[in-house]
């Protein structure tokens, strides 16, 4: 089969996997409140708001997802060396990563809650730990499996010279950085502060005054995740999928347009760089359009 066709197919699959991985990663960081919005969950008991969130403070998402995906990649590499089927190896790798994920998640909840328990009266909710650890590890497994499969594709079909565990580490860090920058905002500024009116940032004075009550009963992590799946999770998935696809697509387009004979690798590379710059220009214009839309439709604050 034509190598360009195979590469394009692998790239399209990678884009799809990236979309699923981005969405799952963001939802996982909503079920188990992680990274920046978690600072509010941490602050809440100090402000007198005893809560039932899963305070999962495992450093930042890039570092923690780097760990899970790198573990999955390394274990998958070891099992593939044994001669087993690659897909089985990837699944087993993601399984070991899920165990590590669960261990870190529970220790983070216990550590943080007990670290402020006596001072502020925040109890340890063991039923929250037991009911949330399943969705946390499950979403994590989906995200990690997709990422490590992408790493495998990049290593074998898409011509990346790095070894599998290193590619896995880099993809893990990237998905964490993207999930932390996009989807977490929906959780932190909207879902955590749902009782405040829509359409404004959260003033510093209101920090820590997060929602304790849910639509019915008391709010917990799963309520946050089902809400954020509507917008934050989906957009995070699209973000990561777009990045992976655009970056690979410009390379393949360069190869096609520049011709596939010897000596035109230079032309192909130049074309791919030019396409990349065009994409960046389009992104800038799009950002400006969204900004102008917001300024005109929402208008300034009036006294």
């Amino acid at each position: 089969m034509d190598t360009t066709l195979i590469a394009l197919g692998a790239l399209a699959l990678s884009g799809a996997l990236a979309t699923v991985a981005g969405c799952a990663e963001d939802l996982e960081s909503d079920v188990g409140s992680q990274s920046n919005p978690n600072s509010q969950v941490q602050l809440a008991p100090q402000m007198g708001n005893i809560h039932r969130y899963f305070n999962k403070a495992i450093s930042g998402e890039p570092v923690s997802y780097g760990l899970y995906v790198a573990v999955a990649g390394a274990v998958a590499y070891a099992i593939m060396q044994m001669g087993l089927n690659p897909i089985l190896a990837l699944i087993l790798g993601a399984g070991v990563a899920a165990l590590v994920h669960g261990a870190y998640a529970i220790s983070a909840y216990l550590g943080r809650i007990v670290g402020q328990s006596k001072n502020f009266g925040q109890p340890v909710y063991w039923d929250i730990v037991m009911s949330h650890i399943g969705p946390i590890v499950g979403h994590g497994f989906i995200a990690v499996f997709c990422m490590v499969l992408m790493a495998y594709l990049a290593n074998t079909i898409l011509g990346n010279p790095f070894p599998l565990p290193l590619i896995a580490l880099i993809f893990g860090i990237t998905v964490g950085a993207i999930g932390s920058s996009t989807g977490d905002v929906h959780y932190g500024a909207e879902r955590e502060y749902q009782k405040y009116p829509f359409g404004g940032g959260v003033p510093v004075a209101n920090h820590g005054d997060i929602d304790i009550k849910a639509e019915y009963g008391l709010r917990n992590g799963m309520d946050s995740s089902y809400f954020c799946a509507r917008l934050g999770g989906v957009l995070t998935g699209i973000c990561f999928g777009l990045i992976v696809f655009l970056d690979g697509w410009r390379g393949i387009l360069g190869n096609i347009l520049g011709g596939s004979n010897e000596g035109s690798i230079i032309t192909a590379s130049i074309i791919s760089i030019v396409i990349g710059l065009i994409i960046v220009a389009v992104l800038t214009i799009a950002n400006r359009k969204v900004e102008v839309f917001a300024r005109n439709k929402f208008g300034p604050y009036t006294k």
Partner: protein, 232 residues
Amino acid sequence: MDIVSLIVPLIEITAAGAIINASVHFVPVGGAPAAMATSTGVGTGTTQLAAGAGFTGLMGAAAMAASVGLSPTGIALILLSGAVSSMIMLGVTMLIGQLIYVFGIGVVPAADKCEIDPITKDPQKPYVTPGTTGHGVPTVCFVSGLIGAALGGLGGALAYIALRKLGLDAGIAGMLAVGFFFINAVLASYNIGGTIEGFHDPKFKKMPNGVIASTVASLVFGIISILMVLSV
């Protein structure tokens, strides 16, 4: 290996460290407050976002290096490719973040550290929620972020090229480049001290301190790397 083929990579590594440190200062990062729409910029940590962008650039550079090789034109292409990959990553991230800010939270992108946006000349103050220090990704922050991403991708790619020129294999060079990137990004992050809005932010004037620190650290890194390959 002769002296020239050792000195050039040393200069390249030192320059790469300085560039990486500078790049972190351009990326608009609001830290933890930005995740609550309390400050302008992307809602994550400086190191993390810079690392994400830089590593995307590193991957692009590695893939390109495997196909074009290390000739001067090849190196120029690798550097540009790394920069463009990194710009795409940060550009899409900032755009999607902007969509969430505008449609998910309903805020107008507004910067706090300038009265009017230097690029679009739009007034910012009336659109900042009272009690916050801005939110979203206004155009000046977006452009600043693109510059930062380009520099970050360039720096990561340059470090990778320098290590390859020293004769190290792709896997080793990649791993050392990852560690190298983290050292410089964290030094920059300590210099910034939390959040920065971009090149219009007063904190941006502190950049020379960070660049000097990274230059020294990268020089040490480069000297040790040279010692590693001396008998090869």
